[in-house]
Amino acid sequence: MNYKKVLSLKNLSKSFGRIVANQDVSLDLYQGEILALLGENGAGKTTLMNMLFGHYIPDSGHIEVADETGHFSELTLGNPQGAIAAGIGMVHQHFTLAENLDAVDNITLGAEPLRSLRRNRSKAEKKIQYLIDNSGLSAPLNIPVGRLTVGERQRVEILKALYRNVRILVLDEPTAVLTPQEADTLFENIAAMAADSLSVIFISHKLREVLAFSHRISVLRLGKNVGEIDTSEADEQKIASLMVGTKTSHPERMVTSVGSPVLRLENLSIAGRGRRDSLKNINLTVFSGEILGVAGVSGNGQAPLAGLISGMLRPEAGQIILDNQEVKQINPAEMIAKRVGRIPEDRHRDGIVGSMSVAENLIIEGLNEKKFQNYGMLKRENISKHAEALLTDYDVRGPGSAAPAQLLSGGNIQKLILARVFHEKPLLILANQPTRGLDMGAAADVAHRLIEARDRGAGIILISEDLDEILRLADRILVMHDGAFVETETRDRAELGLLMAGQAA
């Protein structure tokens, strides 16, 4: 690695309303370097990169980029076209692909002048093939991107950047949707490209991959630079304390005595429209007093499994047996009545009604209770008293119980849902990606609540893409692949990774 500087972010600041996303952040990048930008959710990593790529205009500060000759000039801010022209490419966490177009069209989008009357597709295809041969990033080129797998889509995203001759590549949480093996392959490709003098910044909060694949680590906390360290000198302890500032306690997993079965799924099948939403002849038992971890790359049947248990999908074959009784009418109201607590994956869409008040959202599953209504007339006073008590107990912070729920932050929306679910003392809890997008503090809170519920005897199904979370919390682990389960005793990351990829360990 040489030490030719290619990029310099100087004293960037950005706020959204009263929220300060970045404050006086500086960052340098050298040629052929892989820099990891590390920090908790909400630390301002993505905001910083979005300013670099021109999606946001910084409130203050500036950015300097070197051209091929090493001459530095200031980057025009707030203009993606300027960033692309300066040789900067970005792969967003949420892919920016048009799913109705194929890979070639997606890759050439914006690279050709819109006024030209003809396109030279075969020439573009040749160039893309050349890039594929050199980088090892292969993907089908001629079918609509909507039909590609997530890994393939990501490779298309990277090819899109390479096609524009980038010298600086920014990857925002590139491995969030990949299996451990896919992630390793990706990083091998990136390392090869870096050796070929590409400079890479990747955003991550996974310490493991940061330590394994980066050259240098820069840590952000609460929108500020808090440290920079050469990867060769770093270890997990050091960077974790930089990220969090203080130590957060991870709850200890204690072995408890397992009780009787609370949920049995017998020979359940759903034939969905594709791999994403099918289940194949599932058998599953959840006992009271245990946390059952369901690991796997998303899109392998977790969605229909969660849909079934929450009553939103009906199986084509098989039975659901709750508390030793078969559930005949499978619908959400019935599941609530049978004391199933549900923490949905998409908390904004399925967890709350954003335009209704916090208090109303808290009673939305208990509307039949006489405490809250009398012949259809709401008892406002009881409802708000109930809300105030829960907000205090569960430490939900925000503009109060009468404000619309959508004004709460992501972490507080999750706490609201926890309050609604846990105070009913459910028999069975479905927790689908309960800590996704939460910062470490809020995530630890969720984990404590889950363990508390387990200790009082609830059965818990924890669906998570975060293998570390499963390893920390689950008493028993199932791996989902292609709509089916594999139960496993192993707690070895590599073996679990193979199971997630559908290969027998």
Partner: protein, 314 residues
Amino acid sequence: MIEILQILLSESFWSASLRIATPLIFGVLGALLCEKSGVLNLGIEGIFVVGAMVGWMAVWLGAGLWGGVLAAALAGALFGLLHGILTVPLGLSQHVSGLAITLFASSLSYFSYRTALPTVSSPPRIDPFQPLDIPILTNLPFLGPVLFQQTALTFLSLFCVLLVWYVLNKTALGVAIKAVGDNPNSVDAQGLSVYGLRISAVMAGSALMALGGAFLTMSAFDAFFFGMVNGRGWICIALVIFASWRPGKALLGAILFGAFDALQVRLQTEVGAFVPSQVFLAAPYLLSIFALVIAARRAEYPRALLTPWFKGQR
């Protein structure tokens, strides 16, 4: 049954079908272009009225027939610009803005007509487009009379089908329009302007819609009447779904509807004695609802249709 067969085999029937289909071809192409970019344009019905009124008025004022066509297209594009500004950068409801434009554009057309001609009881006539008479071709069996009793505007509409197909499938601009209708972030991330693309597509689409209106006053009839558009715009909105946003199928859908309409007129004279005429008038609409139920289930909507996009919000 024999009567229906005779009708279906006659040259005059297909000639009429194509004539009735022409404004729909323009309209459905226009709506398709707008929707491919992610913007529903319910202003179509009003933009038809504007096109009919402006085209006719321009000719009456002495601009010449092609001058009238150009004026109609420009007027349509202007209303497209209005709809584009309201729905794209301002992100207002596309339904509400579209309906408002329909009400505004048609009322404004009637108002200007009355202001320009306050005392006239029957509207002044213009010399409309005449059927293109191309020697030899006109004498072809069957095809000759069907195609070459049409005016230049019908040929323009067929040319526009090819043009829209070519732009959408063979040019970089078309790729960008389809991308902005599927995922605006994809366009933004490549440094193209989401607003620019969407507003241009809506303006071009609205210009096409206005040509559909202009056909009515400059080819099908020779003057401007109140209520002459009579729901043709709404039919186009349905036809786009029937066509699953494909120009070729859009042409097919428009001709099919034209054929239903031509058929019902002829059936009225055949069996009008037994069946009330309103049944025939309703028949094309009932049939198109039926066709829609079948076709719409498979239709692939542009994913970002109706969804406003704001810069810096992702």
